[in-house]
Symmetry: C2
Subunit: 457 residues, 2 copies
C-alpha cells in the first residue's frame, strides 16, 4: 500500500470508528431515555415485594415468584419464556425465635435474634449455657475444647467501617456466620450466636446461610442485632460470666422442585451466542427481598423490555434469568450450567446484578485480558450514566459456574454504602429502593448487554 492510500485507509477507519462511537452514544442515550421514562422495573418490584413477599427456596412465595416473573418477561416482550427445573433445599424458620441473657439480678435482657439459614432448630427446651465471646475463628481455635465445651459461642466480628467497599468488610467479617457454627461444634459448643453482618448499629438481626461440617454435630445458630452484640460485649467485660438462652424452631425439610425463570430475545445474526443477564429470585424470609435481589431480577427483565420497546434487535441472544436458590444452596446457578452443557450452548458473556439496586458506580470484570480490553473501549459511554469504575472482580454467585465454559463474567457494582444496613434483615423492603437508582442501574445494564450483543467480546 502506498503512503497516500494508507493515509486514506487510516482516515476511513478513523471515520468509521468515530461514526460507530457516535452511533453507540446515540443508542446509549435512547436506552437511558426509554428506561428513565418508561421502565416497569419499579412497579414490577412493588408486585414482587408487596404481593408476593419473601421467596425462600421451596416456599410457596418462591413458586408464586416463578409464575409472576415468567408473566413479567412475557409482558416485557421476550421472544420465548421458559423454566429450567432444579431441586432446592427447603429450610423453614418455623415460629419466631426467642432468646435472652440472664442477668445477675435474675432479670432477663431479651435479644433481637433470628436463626441462621440452614441451621438446625434448638429443640423444644432451647439451649442454655454460659457465653464465650470470640473475635475470630482463630481465637476459637486457641481456646479449644477445654474452654468451649458445653458453651454458647458468641462470634463478635464487626464489619470494618473504614472499608469504603462494604463488600470487603462483609467478606472479612463473614467467617463467623459461614463457618463459625461448624468450628464451634468441633470444640464441643452447644450453640452459636453471631453478631449480625450489618454496617450499622441497630436492632435488626440479619440472617444468612451457615454451613455445617458433616464431621461434627450440627448445633443451633442465631444472629443477634449489632446493638445487642455491642451491649453483650460490654456486659461480658464487666460481668465476666453470663448465661444465654435461645430457642429456634427452624428445620430442613426434604428437597423441593423449583425453577430458574428465563426470558430471551433471539439474536438476529448469532442466535447461538448467548449473553445472560440475571439476578436471583429467591430471598430470605425475614422481609421482602427488595434489594436482595428483587432489584437485580427486575432490572434484568427491564433489559428485555427496554430493548423490545426501542425496537432494537440484538445480534446475539440476550437471556434474562431469574436464578433460584442463590441464598442457601446455589442450585439454580448449577442447574443453569448443566442446562448449557446438556445443550452444548455457547455462552459468550454473563452479567449479574446482586449487589442491590443502588445508584450505579461500576462493573466488575472476571474475564481474560483481551476481553477486558474490549469492554474497556466502551467505558466512556457509561460515564454520563454514573458508571466509571471498571475493575477486575467477581461476576456473581449465580453466573460463577459458567466460568467452566470460558464465559466472560461481569458484575453490576452499584454504590455499596446502604446495602448492609438491610441485607438479609427485616428492613429489606420495597420502600428501601429508589426508583431512579433502580432504573439508572437497569439503563446501564441494558447498554452493556446491547454493546456485547452488537460487537461480541
Amino acid at each position: 500500500m502506498n503512503k497516500k492510500l494508507l493515509l486514506s485507509f487510516i482516515a476511513m477507519v478513523g471515520f468509521l470508528a468515530g461514526f460507530a462511537q457516535q452511533n453507540d452514544a446515540f443508542v446509549a442515550k435512547n436506552i437511558a431515555e426509554e428506561v428513565m421514562r418508561n421502565s416497569t422495573a419499579y412497579e414490577n418490584l412493588r408486585y414482587l415485594t408487596k404481593k408476593i413477599g419473601h421467596r425462600l427456596s421451596g416456599s410457596s412465595g418462591a413458586q408464586r415468584a416463578v409464575e409472576a416473573t415468567a408473566g413479567m418477561l412475557r409482558a416485557a416482550g421476550a421472544d420465548t419464556v421458559y423454566l429450567q427445573p432444579c431441586m432446592v433445599p427447603h429450610w423453614e424458620r418455623g415460629t419466631k425465635e426467642t432468646g435472652y441473657i440472664k442477668l445477675a439480678d435474675g432479670s432477663k435482657y431479651n435479644l433481637s435474634l433470628c436463626a441462621l439459614g440452614n441451621s438446625v432448630g434448638s429443640g423444644a427446651k432451647g439451649v442454655t449455657a454460659p457465653v464465650i465471646e470470640v473475635k475470630s475463628l482463630k481465637e476459637l481455635d486457641e481456646l479449644g475444647t477445654a474452654v468451649v465445651k458445653g458453651k454458647i459461642i458468641f462470634f463478635n466480628i464487626p464489619m470494618n467501617p473504614a472499608y469504603i467497599r462494604t463488600f470487603r468488610a462483609y467478606g472479612e467479617a463473614g467467617a463467623g456466620r459461614r463457618s463459625g457454627p461448624a468450628l464451634a461444634a468441633k470444640y464441643g459448643a452447644i450453640g452459636v450466636m453471631v453478631r449480625s453482618l450489618a454496617s450499622n448499629i441497630d436492632e435488626f438481626p440479619h440472617t444468612g446461610a451457615t454451613q455445617y461440617n458433616d464431621s461434627f454435630p450440627k448445633i443451633p445458630a442465631v444472629a443477634i442485632s449489632t446493638k445487642d452484640a455491642e451491649w453483650l460485649s460490654r456486659e461480658l467485660k464487666q460481668k465476666m460470666q453470663l448465661s444465654a438462652y435461645f430457642k429456634t424452631n427452624c428445620r430442613m425439610l426434604a428437597e423441593a422442585p423449583s425453577f430458574n425463570v428465563v426470558g430471551e430475545i433471539r439474536g438476529t445474526e448469532y442466535p447461538g451466542e448467548i449473553l445472560t443477564v440475571g439476578g436471583h429470585l429467591d430471598s430470605w424470609d425475614l422481609a421482602e427481598g427488595a434489594q436482595d435481589d428483587g432489584t437485580g431480577c427486575m432490572q434484568s427483565i427491564e433489559v428485555i423490555r427496554s430493548l423490545k420497546a426501542l425496537g432494537i434487535k440484538p445480534k446475539r441472544t440476550i437471556r434474562a434469568v431469574m436464578f433460584m436458590n442463590e441464598e442457601n444452596g446455589g442450585r439454580g446457578g448449577a442447574a443453569y450450567l448443566q442446562w448449557a452443557k446438556d445443550r452444548n450452548e455457547k455462552h459468550v458473556f454473563a452479567l449479574e446484578s446482586d449487589a442491590g439496586g443502588f445508584t450505579p458506580r461500576g462493573i466488575s470484570m472476571d474475564m481474560n485480558e483481551e476481553k477486558r480490553a474490549k469492554l474497556l473501549q466502551w467505558k466512556a459511554l457509561f460515564y454520563e450514566y454514573g458508571i466509571y469504575d471498571f475493575s477486575p472482580g467477581g461476576g456473581g454467585a449465580d453466573i460463577g459456574p459458567l466460568k467452566e465454559l470460558g464465559t466472560a463474567l461481569a458484575g453490576f457494582a452499584p454504590d455499596s454504602q446502604r446495602y448492609f444496613d438491610l441485607h438479609h434483615a427485616a428492613n429489606d423492603v420495597f420502600e428501601a429502593v429508589s426508583k431512579r437508582e433502580l432504573d439508572l442501574g437497569a439503563a446501564n445494564m441494558t447498554l452493556l448487554m446491547w454493546l456485547v450483543s452488537e460487537y461480541g467480546l
Copy 2:
C-alpha cells in the same frame, strides 16, 4: 545548569513530589478512617432533626438550631465559635392549607397541597376560580389577559426524568414555582397552583420560595403533589373546564434578627487566609430539613471535629459556617460577605454542601483555570472515597457572594438520584439519611479542606 545536574534536580523534584503524594494519600486514609469510625455527624443530625425539627428563618426552631450548632462546634473542638448577626425574612405558613377540585357531580377531589414559601395567604374565604393548565411561562404569555384574568393558573411543568443530573431537571422545571405567580398576576390571575418540583410521582407537596414582582398584585400560590398534578391534567383533558378552591393561611411578618454560626480552626502558618466550608442551617417547615440541609451543616462540623481529633493543624484557617436563610432570602450568605468586607478578610476558598448527604460523586468548581488545574492535581486522592467527577459548575447559593472577593468556590456534589424525592417536602426526615453516605461525604470534604489548607490554591 549542566545536564547531569538538571537530571538530578528533576529526579529530586520527582522524588519530593512522589513523597508529597504518598504523604497526602496517607493523610487521606487517616481522615477517612477517623470519619468512618468516629464521626459525630449522624448523631448531631439526629439531634438537629428530631429534637429541634424544622428551622425556617425567624422561627424558634431556627434560633434553637443556632444555639445547638454553636454547641456542636465547641464540642468538635473549634478554636473559636461565634455568631454573625443578620436580619431575615420571617414567613409563617399558619394553619394547614386546604384545597380541592370541584367535580361535575358536585363532589370534591381533595388536593395534597402546601403554600409556596414567601406567598401571601388567600384570605379567610380562600380562592375559587376555573383552572387553566399551562406547560410553560411562554404558554402563559401566549394566553394573555383575555384568558388568564380571574383564573387559577396551574403550572404543570414536570422535571425531566431523562436528565441523569436531577439538578438540571430541577433548574429547568423550576420556572413555574419561582416566577409563575408573578407572571400570572401580571395577566390578572387570582391564584396559582404549581406541580411540585419532585422527581417521583407521589402524594407529597413540595414547597419552596416564589418571588413576586412589585409591579403586580401578590396572589396566593400553592404547590400540589405530582400525583394530583397528573390526575388534574388528565381530568382537564376530559372535562375541559374545572373549578378549583384553595385556602392558605400564610403571611410575611416583620424581619427578625438571626445569625450565621461560625466555628474555626486557626491556621498555623497563614491564619489570615480563610477557607470556608458550610451548609445552610435554615430549612423549610414541612419536615425536619434532614437532607436539605442538615447534612451539609453536620458534615461541615465534622470537618472541624475530625481534623482536631487527628491532631492535624491546618496551615490556613478553616471555618465551618452554618448559613442562615438560604431558603427564602439568602441573607446569611450576604451577611457573610459583608462581614468579610468589613474586616478586610482574605477568602481563598469556599466549599458548600447543599445537595444532600448522599453518596459522594463529585466536586463542582467555580474558579479560574489555574486554580482548577491545581485542584485537579489532587483528583486521584479522592477516587478511593467515591469522588471522581471534578467539573466546572456552581459552588452554592451561600458562598456565591464571595465570588466578588475572587474566592475560589466549590460545591460538594453527591449522587442526586434521591434528592428530589424529598426536597422541601414532608419526607425530608432523619430516616432518609444514610449514616455511611453522610460520613463518606464528610470524609471527602475534610480531605479537600485539608489539601487547600496545606497547599493553598
